[in-house]
Symmetry: C2
DNA sequence: ATTAAAATACACCTGTTAAGTGTACTTTTG
DNA sequence: CAAAAGTACACTTAACAGGTGTATTTTAAT
């Protein structure tokens, strides 16, 4: 029950980009050095973030990455989902046939886990990168 | 970010035991059949639950398992921790030196993740097996 | 046009973990 | 003392996490 390392790196990369003046690019190499992330792995993660529409990439000389929208419009949930896909707390929530003999509808555990998952999603969605950035500035 | 299969099985085993009349034992074999859990794996999980003081085991002929305390005093958090150990949402929460270059105290991500972890723990602790059992009875 | 600096693509590797099994042993009741 | 239960611990197998190799494409500056 842990977020993976790629997600952690993604958080840091997005936070880094959030701290740049609007419109300014940063190369992957720079982010990697500043945040101590293996460059090749970071590039892979940045592609996921690009595919999810969280960052924009610019190729070629003096290319790099920038946020695709305002940091206030990017939440930790967005980042988690970009990297790991939708959050699933338990197998039975995604594959009801895995729910032993009980139907999901009748299984109290299923209901509880679903509710927990929703709480978690709400919590992750409550943190945006404008707020997180502000927190570093102090 | 998912609970593992052993934890899912543990939930089901504890729920099963919660449904028994107080003081009555159930053999692992029976639980395994009813809940469709591989018996050997279940036995292993039951040992974790026993070690955590959630269930009591009785050896020998006509032995088996029973809850060590009232179902109302057992929460989903107890079960998760018995099987997986304390919940850790992110590596940096358990190994601050993993926190890239930032000290935990200064890292807004660290604070956010810690808060999320606490919410999750609170949520898991809010479900006890007396309530979950009641929910199946209907 | 060419070059160099950037991102992209996709396959691969390697260690760890999840999930489960093999085999032998211990405890307890009838 | 036999059989039915739980215990112990090592092992296996597959999947996944985290990362790397190698080649390609795009673009700005010369």
């Amino acid at each position: 029950m842990r977020l993976n390392q790629a997600t952690d790196y993604a958080f840091r990369a997005v936070l880094y980009l959030s701290q740049l003046p609007k419109g300014q690019l940063a190369e992957a190499k720079l982010i990697a050095e500043q945040e101590r992330i293996p460059i090749r792995f970071l590039l892979k993660i940045l592609r996921l973030l690009t595919a999810a529409g969280i960052v924009e990439s610019y190729r070629g000389v003096s290319g790099g990455y920038a946020l695709a929208r305002d940091p206030g419009e990017i939440t930790m949930k967005d980042v988690v989902e970009a990297v790991e896909g939708p959050l699933v707390v338990n197998r039975c929530l995604v594959a009801p046939e895995e729910c032993s003999k009980n139907f999901a509808a009748r299984c109290p555990l299923h209901k509880a886990l679903f509710s927990i998952q929703q709480t978690l999603n709400r919590e992750l969605a409550s943190y945006n990168f404008a707020d997180l950035r502000a927190c570093t500035d102090k």
